[in-house]
Symmetry: C2
Subunit: 111 residues, 2 copies
Amino acid sequence: MKVIHYTDVPAESIEGLPGVTIRWCISDADGVPRFALRVFEVEPGHGSPRHAHWWEHEVYILAGTGVLWTPDGETPLRPGHAVFVPPDAEHQFRNTGDEVLRFICVVPVGI
Amino acid sequence: MKVIHYTDVPAESIEGLPGVTIRWCISDADGVPRFALRVFEVEPGHGSPRHAHWWEHEVYILAGTGVLWTPDGETPLRPGHAVFVPPDAEHQFRNTGDEVLRFICVVPVGI
C-alpha cells in the first residue's frame, strides 16, 4: 500500500524535452504488477514531440489547457478530459494556454 | 484515439453501494489492451466496503477529502494524493468530508 501526494514526488526533467517534467507517483519501484501512474507538467508553449511507441497512454487532464495532436487533427483538452492513445498511434500533447498543463499518464510497466 | 470529458460519461450506480457512482471513461469497449480508467464519485458519509481482490488499484484523488482504511489504520486523502493498493490487499475508501469525493481508479482489464 502506498499513499503519496504528487508534490512529494520529485519532478524530473526529460532529456530533449524542455518545459516538461515527470513525477513517477506509482511505478516499478513500488512493486506494481502491470501499470505505472505518472504526473506530467508542461509549461506554456511546450509539449511532447510527435511520436509513436508500442505502449498505450491513458491520460486524465488535471489543470491547464492544451491540445492532443494526431494525424487526423487537433483536439482541445481541458481539466476532466480522459484520453486514450492506443499502441503505435502517432500523437503529441501540447500546452496552448497560459498556465501549466498538468495531467496524469498511465502506461504499462517495462517501457 | 479517444478524448472524452468525464462528465460526458454516464455515472452508473453500483449494486449494494449507495452514494457511489462509477464512470468508465476508458475501458474494454475502447479496445484498451491492458488497463481501464474509471472516475468514482462518493457522497459524504459513503464509501466502499472493506474488501480485497486479485487486482490492484492505482488511484488519484481529484476532489474532496476522505480516508483509505487498511488493516494497519487509516490514511487521510486529499486532492493530489496517489494511492497504490496491491493485489489481494484489504482496503476501503471512505468520504469523511462535506463534499463529493472524486477520484480516478485504474484497474487491469478483465475484472
